[in-house]
């Protein structure tokens, strides 16, 4: 197992403003790598902004973010997955097409069997040919989380999950926890925002904003 900065994710003296609102000032966090990091905080405390900033979708005003030993930006973009709270699936495509095209855009090798098996794990195989615009938010969320269950997803360094348990039913939550456990066992790092009181994982770091 790699040690030192190569395997660390650290925020040093970060400040972030959006418009006139100051979201963070001098924020210092060292994340548990590999491991599960649960980010908690009130509404509007900047949990989503933190994840967006780590995934480079927001630019910090001051401070440094060490992403696994200063990975180059392009390498970092290919080394993590960001699952946002709102679904990022195209309404005009079916669920299966969405996943197929998403895998293609990542440059991964995939086939229809893999995608169908993945949908079956989440129990949404029967919706594979439904247009996303016709699906309920729970099914959309499950389809979105299917992105985590590809072989290549487990080889990545980090998953950023923004409220992944929203809209999920009991089976969905259990399966998500299972694949999260598998990812952590494969030396992965998960940053998850959550409002849930009960956390089923044994080792995790709680970060309060």
């Amino acid at each position: 197992m790699k040690t030192g900065l190569q395997n660390n994710m650290i925020l040093k003296d970060i400040s972030l403003t959006r418009g006139l609102k100051i979201i963070f000032s001098s924020l210092n966090i060292e994340f548990l790598c590999p491991g599960l990091n649960i980010i908690k905080g009130e509404n509007g405390s900047g949990k989503t902004s933190l994840l967006m900033m780590i995934s480079t979708l927001l630019q910090e005003d001051r401070g440094t973010i060490i992403r696994f030993g200063k990975l180059k930006k392009n390498n970092w973009l290919n080394e993590h997955i960001l699952i946002k709270q709102n679904s990022s699936l195209s309404d005009e495509l079916t669920i299966e097409e969405n996943l197929k095209i998403w895998c293609g855009l990542k440059g991964w090798n995939f086939n229809t069997d893999k995608i169908q098996k993945n949908l079956e794990h989440f129990g949404i195989l029967k919706y594979k040919n439904s247009l996303v615009s016709e699906c309920s938010s729970g099914i959309k969320k499950k389809a979105e989380l299917c992105k985590l269950n590809f072989e290549e997803s487990f080889k990545l360094k980090c998953w950023l999950l923004d409220e992944p348990l929203n809209h999920l039913d009991q089976n969905g939550i259990l399966f998500l926890e299972k694949i999260m456990g598998k990812f952590i066992n494969m030396n992965g790092t998960i940053l998850q925002t959550s409002h849930e009181k009960k956390i089923n994982h044994k080792n995790f770091k709680l970060i309060k904003l």
Binding site: I101, G104, W108
Partner: protein, 227 residues
Amino acid sequence: MNINFKNILIALIEKEFKSYIRSINNLMNMIVFMIAIIILFPLTMGPSEEKLTLVSNAIVWIALIISIIPTLDKIYIGDFKNGWLEQYYFSPLLLEIIILIKCFVFWFFLIIPLSIFIPIFSILLNIPFLIIFWNIIIFAIGSLGFCLIGSICSSLTLGTKSNNLISPLLILPLAIPIFIFGNGVVEAVKSNYDPLPNLYLLITVCLILLVISPLISAYSIKIALTR
């Protein structure tokens, strides 16, 4: 991790193709709008053949351009709203190349079908055959330039609320060279001069846009995403 760039290209083209096929009403809107303009012009001008011959070429061009402009500012807005632009940003392929492919697909599936209507309308407006031929060539080249300008404006207005208002104002001044050289070709043909110099200038404008448009669009998309 092995990255298969062929897969990225196929996925990108498949996504765009399916989106356009499933929102075919965009294309139908453009065609209906164009037909309406071309029918209304002769009706409002009166039944004088001389007047019509004088302005017929301009009518076809105005109809084409006015029907294209409202769709140009929608190149990225759908993908921006449902989060696909972020997926493009996270893709291992350069955003500039993705944008270039997107523009080509937009041009091929939405604009080129429109050029099929040029001969039909031209016959209705009594335009000579030679000019119809040149019109098709100019439209095929000029419309690519138009899409590239549209890409710049569409990406610049991402995230603004009044992009319907701003886009035509941004597109029209940038498109003036295309109008001038396009019209220059037709005028040269009409008065028996060599149309090639104007055509070369038109191609030059499009080639310049081909280089600068993806760069500017990618830059403004990155700003819109990371704001």
